[in-house]
Subunit: 168 residues, 2 copies
């Protein structure tokens, strides 16, 4: 059976037979793009039920998994989230208003802003992360673990080749 990308590739093969041998990258990359849209849509619904935004969940989990004292500089959050500095400032603003994080000026380097999970923020993070993992698992239901491992490994190779090797 075919998915939407099979249809796309089939149309190209019919329209431009000369390109048939060069369509294979679409099979991978277009599927990553389409799957990403599905993930984002699912994630949006998931966080909406918990009064969060997708970007806020991102900050929440990044701070939680960094371990005590659940504090990172704004700058460290940029590569972790793969967004620009302006987006991080906005997210912290919103989360600070919600009481999930607080800004702490660094005594050593007053240019830096240390973003710290509040007690409430940590509570939310603990609860949401467990649910988030179950939700994520359900999205992968049709694949067995071996297949997931194979895909993960290939994507790791790809990400490394594009320099996505560190988050700080």
């Amino acid at each position: 059976m075919s998915d939407a990308v099979d249809v796309i590739v089939g149309q190209w093969a019919a329209q431009r037979p000369d390109l048939t041998d060069e369509l294979w990258p679409i099979e991978v990359l277009a599927r990553i793009q389409r799957m990403n849209r599905i993930i984002e849509k699912q994630l949006k619904a998931f966080v909406a039920e918990r009064d969060l935004e997708v970007g806020e969940l991102d900050i929440l989990t990044t701070l939680r998994r960094s371990g005590p004292p659940y504090t990172l500089t704004a700058g460290a959050l940029i590569p972790a989230a793969m967004v620009t500095s302006g987006a991080i400032t906005n997210r912290i603003d919103r989360m600070e208003a919600k009481g999930l994080v607080e800004r702490v000026r660094d005594g050593q380097d007053r240019r830096s802003v240390r973003v710290r999970l509040t007690d409430q923020g940590r509570e939310v993070a603990e609860k949401v992360m467990a649910e988030h993992l179950q939700h994520f698992a359900s999205l992968l239901a049709p694949l067995d673990r071996d297949t997931c491992d194979t895909v993960a490994s290939a994507l790791r190779t790809l990400l490394k080749s594009h320099g996505d090797t560190s988050i700080g």
Copy 2:
């Protein structure tokens, strides 16, 4: 060697050992998300060199691969692009201003808008698509064809399970 997602998973395993067995979905889904950001960034640079937007390339290629007369209704473009109707309207507006497409009112159903590639639009599509495929291939350089096929197959299964089986 490890990528950014390995670091993330490692942090979680250290912080929440009780969740260790449930982290595997991250290995796949976080990598899809991060790879998607890289694809989008690459694509943005690619189209910028050609005076296009990513969404415009999407419309351009969708119309081209639909075959003569290179015409689809606005509604048909929605599932193809996986965006909302408002986004399609905006894209068509911009592309019409650039002379890449034209709106043709359907004589049969005057609610419908048929979006047609202009001659210029088709010329751009032909040229850009070949370059686009080469660019896409270069993004997958570190993977061999068998691996690509395996990943594509797994993602196809995933997409089908989420109902992404048709584009119109």
